[in-house]
């Protein structure tokens, strides 16, 4: 009965979700409407991930570099910060979009494949520090065509000033402001517009994010809904909730819909704020709200300020006729249901996969907001910090400014002004709110005891109006870290590491060199950290910053920039690179070898770009600190000519022009296509002895005389009518990336087919058995693991442990839980734990490669109660290595209730 009810709810949710566009939380995005009247169908603008390889958009830095730079700054530092800002968006696992550093690019070279360009230009008029230009198709007639779901972003340009020392434009690359501005601008290039939740996509007037915590829930929701991830990291919509309703003015039943009103779900306990905006008819749906309890409020967009073209500088949606829909900014802010007192607001419970409807607002008309554009400051260490961290259990001064809060030429506080903290993380001392000076007001804040960072929102009331500022400050459990020195530390007679001394440093602290992460080796007894710095160019200087998991950083409250800790990379011979081959052909996939001199390539850190969005890196393998090999895909429409090669490892960024040429494809060009896939798993890694599938293009039907080699060995192959080669790999191939060569007959050969790389994996892991932990009938009896079987099936939601052989692979390092996944009935799920089976201390046999992998059996896998002894296939994987399916018995759902008689 319960299963049937769950099934009905699931089907209802699926039906509901199929109707609701996942981007119904509109106007985070550049929105186009398929029609000019209700029902409004929003078509957001985003990159067409089908037009790029591996859902990856490349971003490039112009070959016309910035300069002059501030003293102590460098191109490497600036490029590192740009790369780290882009990596922030890559860190959103629930987003299916990835960004790849494509290196330096000549901006005059035309591109076919979409991408993002970062340029430095002083042809911008005075008064502009940075701007983002987004390009869409001109013709919008396709908006109303059936099947249209989005508007493609063709390209985006992030434009910074070239002279970074000019008065008024000084931009030091190590500052939080520079970094968060880059993250913000990258967000625009991906298709995000402004929000008013103090997230990174808010303007800096209210933005509360930092280098340590660069994205807020609103940003994560926005990017995850615009580019929804599939597979292991899919399920964002199902794991979050939805709130919907309508905003009207003039009464809920007979009122007029309020267009482009901002609706915000604000948690009074966690400080999380997720927002969306109404359609022209006043309806809205907030999608992607993390489960929890929320107050809901609706507010008008703030008036356009100087330099803004529209309220909050949000570009209004347009319809196929290019008419836009203006925002109604003339109403009073209110909490649901119809109150300006947050203590009277209704807490709405949001559950995963649930849709809370009919959260309607009947707002009151007003000529404009009484209060807007609030900026708060605190003074840790005597330095003004916006949206400050306030340590738990302390008493702090908070200074703020907001339009409308002062009178008499900003010399006195507006009469009747009220400010309170929403929730229990802090409180404003009664009577402490008063005028400070020069238009600023001040209050004393008492913070509560918190164990985790808690953003706190402020509610400001004045003249019958309400203003809410999420994350006005954050109550933090611990003080910020500091870095007092960066020196050398001798570990032993032969080994010297870098030592970072300061306060509040732990092994979980991230140590950044101009944004590039160092490796924390261990903590010293005196609280300092021994680290391995990222690679850097000889003699270059990097600012060193400590960032703790609570988002606080050591540079946040640095009073004097001249005292910031710095590290000078040792003087070494200059690094350089060479490449093989020198020429690639448009429309082919090919292997590329980058050899370095005095380089420090490192797996997982080295990124290679070719200065063109028409050339994609499909796989890279760092063979040694001086060699990296790649698989490239060159678009058939790639521009013929010379392009750059850029190799970046931490702060070691090497760019060489004129190093690489694209040539046009001759007629009947043949190419193998990467990645080469495992015939069993469909993934891009194959164990020796396994079966590989090699897709090709342009291959003739008659393959008489053609040979194929993998690594040093010739191998037999068969070809189907689609040009897919099936290859049984030799058992003695080494675990490594191996070159694959397809050779045509003849001397010279009839055709030249570029080589590609095939990843040879260690043998696939094997699931030996699975157990679960049924609840004993005797409640006093201990819970014991039981082998899963038809008589002891796993209950939905039950914990399962799989014993896996061979999970560690060739390097014998146990992967973390985040690197292991379980595939159940075709869907990927995270694991909860990965534990090495301890060795028997009394045994002399070598330690076996055995691992316990824990996961939760999802519900709803078996829906037919008539199936006898139902099973589901379970596979455990890490990277490209996946076990064979292991059939696990699951409990059948109970039979349906008999029909009423």
């Amino acid at each position: 009965m319960r299963a049937a009810a769950r099934t009905r709810r699931a089907l209802l949710l699926l039906a509901t979700l199929s109707v609701i566009s996942p981007v119904a939380s509109a106007y985070y995005y550049y929105v186009f409407f398929a029609n000019a009247s209700s029902p409004y169908i929003p078509l957001p603008a985003h990159y067409d991930l089908r037009a790029v390889k591996d859902s990856t958009i490349q971003y490039f830095i112009s070959d016309a570099p910035p300069g002059p730079l501030l003293a102590g700054d460098s191109l490497t530092d600036i490029y590192s910060e740009i790369r780290q800002a882009a990596e922030v968006w890559n860190g959103v696992a629930s987003s299916g979009l990835r960004l790849h550093f494509g290196g330096t690019r000549n901006m005059a070279a035309p591109q076919t494949v979409p991408g993002i360009d970062v340029v430095f230009d002083d042809n911008m008029p005075p008064g502009i520090v940075a701007q983002t230009i987004i390009t869409f198709p001109a013709d919008l007639s396709f908006l109303s065509a059936k099947g249209t779901t989005f508007v493609p972003i063709l390209r985006a340009k992030l434009q910074l000033r070239r002279d970074l020392t000019a008065a008024g434009y000084q931009q030091a690359s190590y500052t939080d402001a520079f970094f968060t501005t880059l993250v913000h601008e990258f967000g625009h290039t991906l298709g995000l517009q402004h929000t008013l939740t103090s997230a990174v996509m808010s303007t800096a007037i209210t933005r509360a994010t930092t280098r340590g915590a660069p994205l807020a829930a609103d940003d994560i929701s926005a990017i995850s809904l615009l580019y929804t991830a599939r597979g292991l990291h899919g399920g964002f919509i199902a794991s979050t909730g939805i709130i919907g309703g309508r905003v009207t003015v003039g009464g809920t039943s007979g009122g007029t819909g309020v267009s482009l009103a901002s609706v915000v779900a604000l948690s009074p306990t966690t400080g999380v704020a997720v927002s969306g905006m109404t359609f022209p008819d006043g309806t809205y749906e907030l999608v992607g709200i993390p489960p929890g309890q929320y107050y809901l409020y609706v507010h008008p967009l703030p008036p356009a300020a100087t330099g803004e073209g529209s309220p909050a500088n949000i570009v209004a949606p347009v319809d196929p006729a290019d008419d836009n829909f203006a925002a109604n900014t003339q109403f009073v802010t209110q909490f649901f249901p119809g109150t300006q007192d947050w203590t009277q607001a209704t807490a709405i419970n949001v559950a995963a996969g649930a849709f809370v409807t009919n959260i309607n607002f009947a707002v009151v008309a007003r000529s404009g907001p009484a209060v807007y554009a609030m900026r708060t400051y605190g003074y840790p260490n005597g330095v003004a910090i916006p949206s400050p961290p306030l340590v738990t259990g302390t008493r702090d001064a908070l200074v703020f400014y907001a339009n409308g809060t002062t009178v008499n030429n900003q010399t006195a506080m507006a009469p009747g002004l009220g400010v309170s903290v929403i929730g229990n993380a802090a409180a404003i001392e009664p009577g402490s709110l008063k005028y400070y000076q020069q238009g600023f007001l001040q209050a004393v804040v008492d913070t509560a005891k918190v164990s985790a960072n808690t953003p706190a929102a402020l509610a400001v009331t004045l003249n019958g109006d309400l203003y809410v500022l999420p994350a006005a400050f954050t109550v933090v459990a611990n003080p910020a870290p500091t870095v007092t020195s960066v020196t050398s530390q001798a570990v032993n007679a032969l080994q010297v590491v870098t030592k970072v001394a300061g306060t509040n440093l732990t092994t979980a602290t991230r140590i950044l060199f101009e944004g590039s992460p160092a490796t924390v080796l261990f903590a010293n007894a005196d609280g300092s950290l021994a680290i391995a710095e990222p690679p850097g160019l000889s003699g270059s200087v990097a600012t060193v910053e400590a960032v703790n998991a609570d988002g606080q950083s050591s540079l946040q409250s640095l009073a004097d920039a001249a005292t910031r800790p710095q590290f000078t990379f040792p003087q070494l011979n200059a690094a350089s690179i060479v490449r093989t081959p020198a020429v690639v052909t448009a429309g082919t996939d090919t292997l590329m070898v980058i050899s370095g001199v005095n380089t420090h390539f490192a797996e997982g850190q080295t990124v290679v770009g070719f200065g063109s969005s028409d050339i994609s890196v499909r796989g890279s393998w760092v063979v040694s600190p001086t060699m990296v090999i790649l698989n490239l895909s060159v678009d058939p429409a790639a521009q013929v000519g010379i392009t750059y090669v850029t190799v970046a490892t931490g702060l070691e960024i090497i760019t060489l022009p004129d190093l690489f040429t694209v040539v046009a494809a001759p007629p009947n060009q043949i190419s193998m296509q990467v990645p080469i896939l495992n015939a069993v798993t469909g993934m891009a890694g194959i164990p020796a002895g396994g079966t590989a599938l090699i897709r090709t293009s342009g291959l003739p039907v008659d393959l008489t005389g053609w040979t194929l080699s993998v690594g040093p060995e010739n191998v037999a192959f068969t070809a189907d009518t689609n040009g897919v080669l099936t290859v049984n790999l030799p058992l003695d191939l080494g675990v490594a990336p191996q070159p694959v060569q397809l050779t045509a007959p003849g001397n010279p050969p009839l055709a030249v087919v570029p080589r590609v790389i095939l990843q040879i994996d260690p043998p696939s892991p094997v699931i030996l058995w699975t157990v679960d932990y049924p609840t004993p009938t005797d409640p006093t009896a201990p819970v014991e693991p039981v082998l899963t079987s038809p008589s002891t099936p796993v209950a939905p939601g039950g914990l399962v442990t799989a014993m896996v052989y061979g999970l560690t692979g060739a390097n014998k390092d146990l992967p973390g839980a985040g690197a292991v996944y379980v595939n159940i009935a075709g869907n990927a799920y995270p694991v909860t734990a990965v534990i090495a089976v301890p060795a028997d201390p009394n045994s002399t046999t070598p330690v076996q490669d055995l691992t316990y992998v824990n996961f939760v059996m999802p519900a709803g896998l078996v829906t037919d109660p008539t199936v006898t002894d139902p099973t589901v296939p379970v596979m455990v994987g890490t990277g490209t290595r996946l076990t064979a399916p292991f059939m696990v018995n699951v409990a059948a759902p109970p039979p349906a209730a008999p029909a009423a008689q």
């Binding site: 502009i128 230009i133 913000h184 303007t203």
Partner: protein, 230 residues
């Protein structure tokens, strides 16, 4: 300076620690803000006296960014705009076209100049380009870019790049809408900056909406230009 302004400067400047040059813009090592003392620039001079009649408290430290949309702006004072503009005119928009320059689309508005305050070699600017628009099969959006309306009068602070493209200063910072009061006076209006920022060095910018008779705005600008030439 007016007596009122002198008193304000005196009171506020007591106990201030400040490091900046009195050259019309602020050094990077500007004010350090602390809860006890806060200094402010008192370098506005004669222009400040006139500005204070119409504006609310205008506290200016150059070098502050005013993030507005997908555009990050530097707050420009009226004096800075006057000095850095290559042309300052009161003009009516007579039409617009959209053009592609390199890879960027601009909407170019044709201007009928009604009055010139500043012009290079006396040449009235015929048009002003605003980034964004539709051309060559592309639609480019630059959030923050203003939209000018045909038939509307504006006061425009213009800047011509080395490449010969004339644009507005600081997005719409250099754009004043011209209207007429009930008495028939020509009034120039621009939205408030809406920005109040104190960074770690204590720099801050803030102003209120700017609205003043065109004659007065013209006079302020002219005096700034004259002072700059002396």
């Amino acid at each position: 300076m007016s007596g009122w302004w002198r008193v304000a400067c005196f009171v506020v400047s007591q106990g201030v620690s400040k490091i900046y040059r009195e050259s019309g813009f602020c050094d990077s090592k500007a004010l350090f803000i602390n809860p006890i003392n806060w200094g402010l620039s008192c370098i506005l001079g004669v222009l400040a006296k006139l500005l204070m009649r119409m504006l609310a408290m205008f506290v200016c430290f150059a070098g502050v960014w005013m993030p507005a949309g997908a555009t990050t702006l530097q707050q420009l004072s009226l004096a800075e705009m006057a000095q850095k503009a290559t042309a300052i005119v009161r003009a009516k928009v007579t039409g617009s076209i959209e053009v592609l320059r390199g890879t960027d689309v601009f909407t170019v508005y044709q201007l009928e100049t009604l009055e010139t305050v500043k012009a290079p070699n006396g040449i009235k600017p015929p048009d002003v380009a605003v980034p964004g628009g539709i051309a060559a099969g592309m639609r480019q959006v630059v959030p923050g870019a203003p939209v000018l309306h045909t038939g509307q009068e504006y006061v425009l602070f213009l800047w011509t790049s080395r490449a010969g493209l004339t644009q507005l200063m600081g997005m719409s910072q250099g754009l004043f809408t011209v209207g007429r009061s009930a008495a028939g006076d020509v009034i120039a209006t621009r939205a408030a900056a809406g920005e109040q920022m104190l960074d770690g060095a204590g720099r801050a910018v803030r102003d209120e909406a700017l609205s003043m008779p065109w004659a007065e705005l013209k006079s302020k600008v002219t005096k700034t230009l004259t002072a700059g030439r002396q």
